[in-house]
Symmetry: C2
Subunit: 290 residues, 2 copies
């Protein structure tokens, strides 16, 4: 049980975290700060936070737990803004989709206080953003990846594990490097592809006619294309090496299919599609995705 959550960034992810902690009875008070005062005010009116803080530093004042839920590229500025009030007794987490860059900025800004920071990535989200979509159940049943480093304090890591478990999440620990490679493949690449697909179709002269005919397959393949541009700009640039490597592998596989289609080699094409189809069906049967 925590006394006071300092919430920096009252959007979908941060707001849902505050609501989830309250629902689970894990926090007494939430003090919130957002860059935009109108967001902070809305969060208070909605009951997501209890008190509006006029700065990130003041949101941290008196907190025993801090969540930084800002676009990845804004993490370092946030660390700098709060560093004077960070103590070894405080648990600080983020929710960013990349981890190496966030840890690097933590090392630079927090220095000897880096041990309080437990880098976290809850595998949850929606294609909509903003506190108005905050949902106490956003994290329930989802995986949360924690990527501690050698300087992370054991006690804060344990508190983080207990907290997310208490919210109904499955906690997985891995290195920041493994995290960034894996999520380049299964998250950042699908987003990149989805953005490219959307632009490819809408950029054609007949794009609007085409879109009016699109059905459920198109709908699902492009759902994540509606994601927040600033957040995804930051993720893609901060994890660029891993992402571009994954994109190359994807394009090699696309090319292999194209060669079979172009040459009319039905048997080989069917083999490649079968491989995708079987793997996808197995994946959706596995317990992780129920």
């Amino acid at each position: 049980m925590f006394e006071q959550l300092g919430l920096i960034g009252c959007g979908l992810m941060g707001g849902s975290f505050a609501l989830a902690l309250k629902k689970a009875g894990l926090v007494k008070r939430v003090v919130g700060y957002s860059k935009s005062p109108s967001t902070t005010e809305k969060a208070r009116q909605m009951g997501v936070i209890d008190v509006e803080a006029p700065s990130a530093l003041l949101a941290v004042s008196g907190a025993d737990i801090v969540l930084i839920a800002v676009p990845v590229a804004a993490t370092e500025a946030t660390f700098k803004a709060i560093k004077h009030l960070v103590t070894p007794q405080m648990l600080i987490m983020d929710v960013g989709s990349t981890k190496r860059d966030v840890i690097d900025s933590g090392r630079r800004a927090l220095r000897e206080q880096i041990g309080s920071f437990v880098p976290a990535h809850p595998i949850a989200g929606r294609e909509v953003s903003g506190v108005e979509h905050a949902d106490a159940d956003l994290y329930a049943g989802k995986q949360v990846i924690l990527t501690p480093i050698e300087r992370t304090l054991t006690i804060q890591l344990q508190k983080a594990v207990d907290l997310w478990t208490g919210l109904g999440c499955r906690v997985v620990k891995m290195s920041p490097e493994s995290h960034d490679a894996a999520f380049a493949a299964v998250s950042h690449l699908p987003h990149l592809i989805s953005f490219a697909l959307m632009n490819a179709i809408s950029g054609q002269k007949q794009g609007q006619d085409f879109l009016s005919l699109a059905g459920p397959g198109f709908r699902d393949c492009t759902r994540v294309a509606a994601s927040d541009p600033k957040i995804w700009r930051d993720i893609m640039i901060s994890n660029r090496e891993e992402l571009l490597a994954q994109s190359k592998i994807f394009q090699r596989n696309l090319h292999a299919l194209e060669v079979m289609i172009s040459s009319g080699n039905g048997e080989a094409l069917e083999g490649l599609i079968e491989q995708a189809s079987v793997t996808r069906a197995q994946w959706s049967m596995s317990k992780n995705n129920k």
Copy 2:
């Protein structure tokens, strides 16, 4: 109201059509044929069809409406098998995802009886196949594209329009060429990309580890990758020119994003993502997709 539906191919699409006609009270009897006798038997046991026919020709005998619901590449053989019983009083339709090749095979096989054939493409489907997933409501509320040619009989075209409207579908007429270009963009390309994405990830050494971390974004982007390999092999080869042209456009757009990521040009990258995000959000707001 039709007397007798001759159903050739008792899978997901054909079976759902038979169930939908029955539910709407638009047919008295369904005589069904599938290449696999066990499928035909299962369809009868499930009440999808009333009578099992031992051949495609016998399924057509006595029918005033015929639905050909077989993989696109099997259409010509089906036309040849039934041509001796085709009459100008009969409405014949298919459900294929490509139209030019189906019409070409109809011209070759049906010759002067081509006028009875109204090429149809209902924009409905699921990533599962087989009569066991047949659903009387699969087509309700969906679009159906009809691509008549100059020799199509007006009376049969009108019957087709009335029938699909009676099943709760929105009927759109267009040329076979426009159809194939549009669906290369909004259906065949997303499938191609989805197959390539699935293979790209599962083909890596750490593929299984990566997949165990994948979340809802990945799930949606790859849903159609579980589609039937034979059906999609046929679609992709039969519409190869349009599909490969669309794939080129997609790869140009992917490359544009990669350049911005690689150079760290956040502003330009955000602009491209914003374009995708706004277009996608508008699309899902449009009435077609409610």
